[in-house]
Symmetry: C2
Subunit: 159 residues, 2 copies
C-alpha cells in the first residue's frame, strides 16, 4: 500500500506531530507492511535508508504515534507475565488504568470460530477474547469523557 509523502504529512499535522524524515520513514515502514513488526524490526528496516538513526528514536516515535492514535500496539500489555491457575475456559476484562484483570465466563465467547478461510490456512487450537476498559475505581478517579484512549503504561517516556 503505497503511501504518498503528503499523505503522511497530513496525518501527522492532523495530530499535531512534527514531520521529520525519521518519523515519516518509521510510519511509512509500518504502514506498508501487514507483519505487525517489533520496534527492532522497524529499526532494522528504516536503518537501511537512515543509517544514523538511533534505536531510541524508533521507540520514541512509536510511542508518539501510539499516543497520537496513529498506530496501535497489538499486544498492548506485554510487560510482566500474568498467571492464572483457573483452567476452565474463560475470558478476561482488562482495566487500562490499573491493569487489573477480571475473569469473565461466557459460553458464547467460548464458541467463536475463525472464518473457514483462515481455519484452513491456520491450525487453530484456541482463542481468547479480551475486553478493554476501566474498572469502577479507575473510572471514578478519572472524570473524563466516555471514550478515551488507554493510559500510558507505568513505565512510559514523558508524553
Amino acid at each position: 500500500m503505497k503511501l504518498a509523502e503528503d499523505d503522511i504529512r497530513q496525518r501527522f499535522r492532523a495530530c499535531g506531530l512534527k514531520v521529520t524524515p525519521q518519523r515519516a520513514a518509521i510510519y511509512r515502514a509500518l504502514a506498508e507492511t501487514t507483519s505487525h513488526p517489533t520496534a527492532d524490526a522497524l529499526y532494522q528496516q528504516v536503518r537501511r535508508r537512515y543509517p544514523m538513526m538511533s534505536p531510541n528514536t524508533v521507540y520514541y516515535t512509536l510511542g508518539a504515534l501510539r499516543d497520537a492514535g496513529l498506530v496501535h500496539e497489538v499486544n498492548y500489555w506485554h510487560d510482566g507475565a500474568r498467571f492464572d491457575a483457573n483452567l476452565t475456559s474463560h475470558h478476561h476484562l482488562v482495566c487500562l488504568g490499573c491493569r487489573a484483570i477480571v475473569d469473565l465466563m461466557d459460553a458464547r465467547l467460548d464458541r467463536l470460530a475463525a472464518p473457514a478461510l483462515q481455519r484452513r490456512a491456520f491450525d487453530i487450537i484456541g482463542h481468547r477474547v479480551e475486553f478493554h476498559g476501566y474498572c469502577a475505581a479507575c473510572r471514578a478517579s478519572k472524570p473524563g469523557t466516555t471514550r478515551r484512549r488507554p493510559e500510558p503504561k507505568k513505565r512510559m517516556r514523558r508524553a
Copy 2:
C-alpha cells in the same frame, strides 16, 4: 478457594512434578487468588512464609507449572511490543510457533459484547479476539498431533 495439601500433591504427581514446599506454596498462592498476579507479586506473597526463597525459583516454578499445563499465562506473548498501522477494526491470528500475526477481518467478531453484569461494573471501550494456532509453515515443520501445547518462548529456561 481453600486447597488441601494433598490436592496439590496429587495434581503435581499427575504431571510428574516433584512436590516441594516452595512449589506448593507458589501454586497455592496462585490458585487461591483471582487477581492474575505477576511473578513478582507471587514472590512477595510467598516470601512471607519462605523468606529465603529466591525470585528465580518463582520464575522457574511458574515455567514448570505452565509447561505442565497446571497454570496459564494470561498475556501469553508479552515480550516485545508489536505494532500495527491498520486502524480499521480487526482481529488477529497468532502463530504459537513463529509468532507471526495475521490480520483477520470479521464483522461478527467486532460486534461481541460482554454480559450486562460486567458492562455495568466495567467501562468497556473495546475488545479484541485472538486466535492461537500454527501457521502452515510451522505446522509443516512439526509433524505432531493435532492438539498441542504452545512452543516455549524464544528466551526460555530449559524445560
